[in-house]
Symmetry: C2
Subunit: 322 residues, 2 copies
């Protein structure tokens, strides 16, 4: 019998990532192409199909050997029908991604939100592989989330499940969020949010080395905040502590509802590792019901940029089993 | 073929409620007995079995006609093994409820937390009957919760799923909670919490009619707060508004994670009806992501004291189907 594979696709605003994945989760091949965004991203399905066909031909694999294709989009998804309600970065609105992919490819397509896929990926082969109840947080340009209960990701009634970046940290005050509200977690704990805090600090604090960094480079990033804190800058450390406090409180409140065994922190900001995780754990324990905190580990994501494609493949595998 | 039934049991600190329920959810008979709490509640399983046997004999129903018995306990439950980790009001610790019930009764027993059962009950035949994604809140002596995702209740890794009464409303300040922490939702939004707020107000506000009520009766209840507010007392109205604000914020943060179609408010305090629900809805909409609030209705529970027994029966039905 010929080996079967699953194709995982992670559609981002800049690049589309692909992986050919074996049924046990092993990534056989991975590749990426730049996202074609013209005409409200209407060429993306064709682009994906073309790239998949080329790769399969190159590897001498037939479409019949593919169990299915899973694709993640950065937006709200109607998983039942495979429609992306809205993905602002791609220009999509009520975009029938499943149907379009199936037009071009002779395989079944499954669609999910990208942060939810990242959670499923970590659950399958990453930091959550032994955990059927977990919360995954992605700290990138924004703050995304995926919640897994009994091994299934929470998608919700209109694709908004796990949108934990919009949990309110500072009610009716604080920075304006893209969602139109104020004080969302995302405005503090994303890379953008941490940078914003840093820019605010250098306006008022004369002594911070963040100021020197900014003057030398003409810009600041969240990475600078972690680097300067590591070198002993108090202001930078205060930003980390505040961010960790906000995150720890949010995760504690969520954990008392979900009662997970793992909280997995991923995304660019998580590359700070223990420098971020330690204060988050401390804050989490100060806010969480003891019984909940006792069984919940806070760990770093393991799959990095592969989490999305792995999750997309796992989602196909899960659906095919039902 | 003889009709089959399910037995639902809701074990409380004062009374044990029973119902004989048909497979479509119709309550055929219900009854209750006082809880025997002596010797750390060790007689409760025998008590339950005796009462069930008597009722079945009276109704000429055999144990073979019973699909199973579902029982809810006010504590943390290991649903896999049917063990109650801890139920303080009953005196139970690592109590093997499933095993004990099955010793005395010739039927399979299933155990769940009582607030989770109430959520399942409302989901089956109550206010959530058309909703597979819902959050149920019970505002009683404490604040309990049950979260249903894809029709299944979230129990969590050590039985703490849905313990939303311990979400933090006021970090590191506010009233001390039974859990040892401060500022939990429960310390504000439970009947006890609302009464506590009222007692605090009459110490400082000379003009509130709550003071007259207290002097006349020697005590206050959460019901007094709603009654005096309805009569125009500003201080009482402020307590309701604050409570609704705290609840609305908590529910908005939870809804952006779960993305439910219904939030169901039950328990004694919910008998205030629209007087409570209207300000909660207002607060919820001010804190929730618009896309989440747009699809989520906040409604009053419908089953009252029957929610637990109905949910216990439904839980048996669900498990038997797998």
């Amino acid at each position: 019998m010929q080996e079967t594979y699953i194709i995982g696709v992670d559609i981002g605003g800049t690049a589309i990532k692909f992986a050919l994945i074996e049924e046990d989760g092993k990534i056989n091949h991975k590749w990426e192409i730049p996202t074609e965004r013209k005409d409200q991203g209407s060429y993306i399905p064709e682009q994906i199909a073309k790239s998949v066909k080329e790769k399969l031909a190159e590897l001498h694999i037939t479409e019949q050997q593919i169990l299915g294709i899973g694709a993640g989009a950065p937006g709200y998804v109607d998983v039942q029908n495979g429609v992306v309600y809205e993905a602002i970065n791609l220009g999509w609105k009520d975009f029938h991604l499943k149907q379009r992919l199936e037009e071009f490819l002779n395989m079944e397509a499954y669609i999910l939100n990208d942060a939810n896929l990242a959670a499923l990926g970590e659950h399958w082969t990453g930091a959550g592989r032994d955990s059927d109840q977990l919360i995954a947080v992605t700290l990138g340009t924004g703050v995304g989330g995926g919640i897994i209960v009994n091994g299934e990701v929470i998608n919700g009634v209109n694709g908004t499940g796990g949108e934990i970046g919009h949990i309110t940290a500072t009610p009716h005050e604080g920075p304006k969020c893209n969602c139109g509200r104020q004080g969302c977690i995302e405005t503090y704990a994303s890379a953008t949010g941490i940078t914003r805090q840093a820019l605010h600090v250098i306006e008022t604090d004369q002594n911070t080395t963040l100021k020197d960094e900014y003057q030398a480079k003409g810009k600041l990033s969240s990475k600078d905040v972690f680097e300067q804190a590591a070198k002993g800058d108090q202001a930078a450390q205060s930003i980390i502590d505040y961010t960790a406090d906000v995150l720890g409180k949010m995760l504690a409140d969520l954990a008392v509802s979900i009662n997970p065994s793992k909280i997995i922190i991923g995304g660019g900001v998580s590359q700070a590792g223990e420098q971020l995780l330690q204060p988050v754990r401390k804050s989490f324990h100060s806010y969480a019901l003891k019984r909940v905190a006792d069984v919940c580990q806070i760990v770093q994501a393991e799959l990095g940029n592969d989490a999305g494609v792995a999750g997309a493949a796992y989602y196909v595998k899960q659906r095919k089993q039902f």
